[in-house]
Assembly symmetry: C2
Homo-oligomer: 345 residues x 2
DNA sequence: CTGAAAGCGCTTACAG
DNA sequence: CTGAAAGCGCTTACAG
């Protein structure tokens, strides 16, 4: 690739025998420039194939018109949907997205955040990684005067903008649904409890049991079963218990629920009559397993749009924003075959 | 969000009574700076919570250490996997990714590309949108001296770096597999033929038929059936033909194949005994439908890594690079239940 | 090893 | 409406 000298506003100015100031003004739709000169400038810019150097422009203007996004994994349905949603709302306002993935590793997350601070992004949108134990790096973002929006997995103690799901309520509804459908011994597959979302989901489970006067059975609550493999492993143990559960709420993910379903199939346990299954996230595949899996839709693309809009709202009224603003999106329980104990399907 | 004055190298210099030059050198690990001063500078930078302004640094150095990526949709498995792969290789070399989605719309694609040129990215990685009809905007990238890497869906006539799948061969193998398993009337669901990938897949289909001396039946080749809905629609028509096919190769995607499977189920046509189905992409769900769907794995994360590595290879030897370089990745046929006509499963 | 100065490409208050 | 000048925050050849 040969080094190409790009045309600058000086080149255009020189060609027309005017100054760069005028060129800049014309190109920025400033009102204080003669209509004739403007046209001439735009025409010349076009001829010379001029492209503004956004770097220089942003440096001068003191912002980058860039939003940094940090997620555990780009190629995970929920996150890629949120990103798509953010992109949709921010792109049309001329903002660019810089995307980083932390890979669920705290140290890489810190690195990502620092890179974004260096880039002088106007806003950092983040969903923290599973092994995050300290939030100094996020505090640092705030200290640099950068807008910070946490979503889904958030550090609750940090006073920032947050866009979250009402996980507790969604969980409550899912477990209530199981109880109301006649399931009596409902197991919970839980995720890392240092993440708010998994704590909330557990709380929803507990509240549902309490509300319906079902007592909690400790051996039916399994820690850290948040992948398909771990879900399957947990299920094997659960189903081999002297008193096995008759329903499993895979609160961590649909992948985990899938693990449950596969083990049930292998062990020849009928779903939903002998075992009810409920997942979380409404992954595409939950609709097409047999039976299809009851799950919870998080409206991830919508969540992304909400994040984008929240950002623009904030920069619109810089003064007002004092206290942390939290937007909670209500997920929706999607009832499918895997929990229809009493129906004929 | 209050406006925060960030600390610059001048602040550090002032505090230590030296010049910004030395601070810059110290922070860039230049050898020409006293070890003692360096330590002092680094310590002070830390105390003042200094973060380099990458914008300014890049402007001065004439590059952005940023790679732009344009894909039709971020939240499509194949693309999000490729992006994840690119990110993995480029991040560790200090490059950032700016991601845009064209939404399969030519005009937005042009806009995205222009934005990236404005951003002075060092490289643009793109998979063109389905309705692209002209490639002036890509030529423009080259004209600006920006590295251009096309992947998967490429404008073949443009001489750029390309990372592609050997779609023709993969298709050939898939259709050969169907023929060898006893299927006789194999339908093809094809995608927009202005995209190279779909042309190649069709060619593979045709070559397989020819090689096995099966003649092409025009009514079994359906145009533009590349979503689940369109796949389903095409299938309804095909199966209602006087001489319906006994296998359908959904060359466009697994979603399309899923549409086929669902229609077959509704019409009570047995898969794989009465109808064989082969998809494309190895989406997660293909493994768990019943029967599971035979498909083609494109190694999408690997593809992303390949793209990243190709870029670094190119910038490593700027001089050498003359002719276009094409890296072709061989996809793998994954045989599953949906095409096992003769076995008992 | 350190400093003074120029410059990356833009924008914008200040004059006129 | 246009120009001259300063400055965004860095880096780097040039002196010493």
């Amino acid at each position: 690739m040969k080094k190409v000298k790009r045309t600058t506003i000086y080149d255009i100015a020189a060609k027309l025998g005017i100054t760069a100031s005028s060129v800049s003004r014309a190109l920025n739709n400033s009102s204080q420039v003669n209509e004739k000169t403007r046209e001439l400038i735009i025409k010349t810019a076009d001829e010379l194939n001029y492209k503004r150097n956004t770097l220089a422009s942003n440096l001068r203007k003191g912002h980058s018109k860039t939003i940094g996004v940090v997620v555990p994994r780009i190629n995970q349905n929920f996150f890629s949907n949120v990103i798509a949603g953010i992109e949709e709302t921010t792109y049309q306002k001329g903002y660019n997205l810089i995307i980083c993935q932390s890979g669920e590793v705290h140290d890489k997350e810190i690195q990502c955040v620092n890179t974004l601070i260096n880039q002088h992004v106007d806003c950092i949108v983040i969903s923290v990684s599973a092994d995050s134990y300290d939030y100094q790096h996020l505090q640092n973002v705030l200290d640099h005067g950068i807008q910070l929006i946490q979503f889904d997995r958030v550090a609750e103690e940090l006073e920032t903008l947050k866009v979250i799901n009402d996980n507790e309520q969604a969980s409550f509804e899912a477990v209530s649904h199981l109880i109301e459908n006649g399931y009596k011994r409902i197991a919970l597959l839980e995720g890392p409890q240092n993440l708010n979302i998994f704590r909330q989901r557990k709380n929803g489970y507990l509240r549902a049991l309490e509300t319906h006067k079902v007592k909690v059975i400790d051996e039916l609550v399994v820690e850290n079963a948040w992948t398909k493999e771990l879900g399957a492993e947990a299920t094997r143990k659960l189903l081999n218990l002297p008193h096995p559960p008759d329903a499993i709420f895979a609160s961590t993910s649909d992948f985990s629920a899938l693990g449950v379903l596969e083990v049930a199939n292998v062990m020849n346990i009928k779903v939903p009559s002998e075992l009810g299954i409920c997942g979380y996230s409404n992954e595409a595949f939950t609709e097409i397993t047999s039976p299809s899996i009851t799950t919870i839709d998080q409206f991830s693309v919508y969540m992304g749009k909400t994040i984008g809009n929240l950002f623009f709202q904030e920069i619109a009224n810089v003064e007002v924003s004092v206290k942390p603003k939290i937007i909670s999106i209500k997920p929706e329980l999607i009832i499918r075959g895997s929990t229809k104990k009493n129906s004929s399907l």
